[in-house]
Structures are given as C-alpha cells and as structure tokens.
Symmetry: C2
Subunit: 229 residues, 2 copies
C-alpha cells in the first residue's frame, strides 16, 4: 500500500500510543518515533519496537540529552512514583515533555514530507497533565503551521489526537478490534527489566480499570505479589 | 545580583544571539543554552561558551540526536551553502529548528523556575526562515502557556525576541553599547576549525553589511583570500 500518505506517530510503547498506531495504520504509512529520555521505564522502548514491528511501521528511537527531561518522578529516581491518584498535576508530570516530543516529530515530518502527526493524548481517563488537553494540541498545531517551510508553501500540518475524547475502556475496545496485542505494551511508570508492571502507579490503575470496564481480560504482566484492586 | 529573575537564552554564538544575551543580562540572571546538532559550523559552540563566560552566564550545550536536524545545507554536507541570496526560503533553512530549540528551552525554564526565554530571531535583515517571524514567536508563546504545570498554576511564560524589528546595524550598535565582543562571535554557516568566516555565505554577507551600515569596523576574522564586497 505504497500509495498511503506518510504519518509520524509518537509511540511510547504504552496502551494509548499503541492504539493510536493501530488507528493511524489504517490510512497511513507510519513512521513511529520513541524517545529515550532516561525514563525509569526504559523497557517501554523494547515494547515500542515490538508494537511498531507488529504494525509494519518503521521505528526510530531518539535519544534526548541528559537532564532535558528533568524534575519528574518519571526521570528522577529520588522522587517516588505515587501509589494513589493525586490532587492537581501529579509528580509524574515531565516538564514540557509533549512539546519536546512534538517538536521532534515536526522536524522529522517536514524532512519526510509528511503532514500528519499522531499523538495518544487523552483528556478523559488521564493523569491531569496540562500538555494532554485539547486546547494545548490545538495551540501546537497552530504554531506548527507557522513554523515550517512546508507550511509557508501551503501544506497544512495536522496533529491528530484520536483518543482525546475516549475513555480508557473505549480505547481498549478500539485497539482489540484493530488487533493491538496489549500483552506487548507497557504502561507502567516503573516497569521492571522484564517489562512487568507494578500494578500500583496511576498509569497501572487507569489501565487495569479500563480493561475491567471494557469487560476484557487484562493481559498485563504484573510483578510478583501484585494484588489488583 | 542574585535578586534578578532567571532567564533562558538561546545562544548560538553568532552576532544576533550574543547581542540578545547582552540585552537579557541587564535585567536577568541568564542561563544560556546552545545546541550541538551536527551543524557544519560546530566551532560556533566554542564561540558560544566564550560569549557566555564574558557575560557571567551559565552555559549548557544540548546534544540533539543524529538525524533530527536534517534536510538542510547547514547539517548535510552534500548540500552546498549558497554564496548569494536566494529567492524564497533558502537551503540553509533547518526544518523546525527554532521549534526544537524553544521546546528544550521551555523544558529547562520550567525546571529552573524561569518564566522568560530569549531568542535572537530577527524579521528585518534575516534569511527568510519561517520560524523567525513575529507571528511564529507569538504562536509558540501561546502554546507554551498551555503546555506546562507552571502555566496552569498561573505563571505567564514570555518568549522575548528583542531583535525582531531591528536592522542588523541597529543590532550591532546596541551590542557595542553593551560591550559585546563581536570578535568572539561566529555567524558564518561554514566557519573553519579556527572559527574564521567564509565571507560569502548569506550570514557573512548580512553581518558584514551590518557593520558597514553601522559605521563600525568589522572585527570578524575571515579565512585567507576573502574579498568582501
């Protein structure tokens, strides 16, 4: 299907972005990009590669320089990952993460002559991150359409956020229909070296509740001794 | 002067950004950031360090992953740097460069509790890059103010572009008043390993014309045999 247009898909290897890759692959030839930002759960990069392969997408891991993605429980092991939902923006928020990720996607899209970027942000069952809100995505798209040579020459870049108004169970049902193998995906903020989930962080909690609500058996591999609520 | 607020300054080591650092240093404690993006003129990073030291600014070089800043004569040695002004957007345009640079600055600003980012874009004597226009800077600022925890908590991030409406000669006059040592700066797109300028690229041309218009002797160190027009 070489006549499909090209799209850049931000792929963390988690449940949401893997579902986005499945959605995008229906109509686009996808180039998936993941980031090595010294995150605790580096194993998610292995998951991302496996998911990309399963959808015949090309895959690029971009290494960010040390200390760029700082000030978060996800990158600083001196800050504990919380085991319950927090009020306000949680300590797992990574400063400007989606802006840095989307900026790289924009650069790669322009070089690859693509006008479509996909991102798995979600404004329903999410962790309260500011850079997951619809108004943020819209503002980035607006900026991107002033930033590039392609935009000056008339191409309209689109940031697609197909999950933005979906609940976690709707996302899971969609992914199952599109043959996403969720056993390959890693959502946990502190997955171990064998890609097994902790079962207690915010991301694990939202994911497990999604499977329960969808009425689909949770295929997640958990660490030993985890008891799900 | 520890009571000055902190600012992040994008510093390439060229004439414009060095002048911006001088302007910002009047009212802010500056943290300068430069990027190693495999540019032809890597020597500009040495110039950036020297300029940062001369204004007592801290300085951080951020290395971008291979292949992120691609598709430009500034990063791809198979594309020649042109020796005359071009129609439209020149081949020295680097896809999404300022977006990637500003995204990093935003992440660092948030971690450092700074609400001020300075960039040396200029819409008068410039090379026609889309991401140097006022409407682009405004759109980035708007996006940034939806992107971060700081913005949700009420801080207003500002992208300062003090040179945006200045001619090259006005920039030079301002810098001379603020004691910028322009002999330290490197503007050339293809400076040699001794930081000597080629004298023929678009950037060299604009720079030299600026010194002539300002009535200030050009302190630029040129490669042997260069004859300036």
């Amino acid at each position: 299907m070489s006549d499909k247009p090209k799209a850049i898909v931000l792929l963390s290897g988690g449940l949401d972005s893997s579902t986005v890759l499945a959605i995008a692959s229906q109509h686009y030839k996808c180039h998936a990009i993941s980031f090595d930002y010294h995150q605790r759960a580096e194993i998610e990069l292995v998951a991302a590669e496996a998911i990309a392969v399963s959808f015949s997408a090309s895959h690029q891991v971009i290494r960010l320089d040390d200390g760029v993605m700082a000030g978060s429980a996800l990158t600083d092991t001196s800050i504990a990952v919380p085991e319950a939902a927090e009020e306000g923006i949680p300590v797992t928020y990574v400063p400007a993460r989606n802006t840095v990720f989307l900026a790289h996607a924009l650069a790669i899209a322009e070089v690859m002559n693509s006008s479509d970027i996909f991102i798995g942000v979600n404004a329903v069952d999410y962790s309260g991150y500011p850079d997951c809100r619809p108004e943020y995505i819209e503002a980035f798209e607006n900026m991107a359409n002033l930033a590039t040579r392609a935009s000056v020459e008339g191409a309209r870049l689109r940031i697609h956020a197909p999950l933005i108004n979906m609940s976690k169970s709707e996302i899971i049902k969609t992914g199952v229909e599109l043959d996403v193998n969720y056993a390959l995906t890693v959502s946990c903020y502190q997955a171990d070296a064998k890609a097994r989930a902790c079962g207690v962080c915010d991301s694990c909690r939202l994911r497990h509740e999604g499977f329960v609500a969808a009425g689909i058996a949770d295929p997640t591999r958990y660490q030993e001794g985890v008891e799900l609520g």
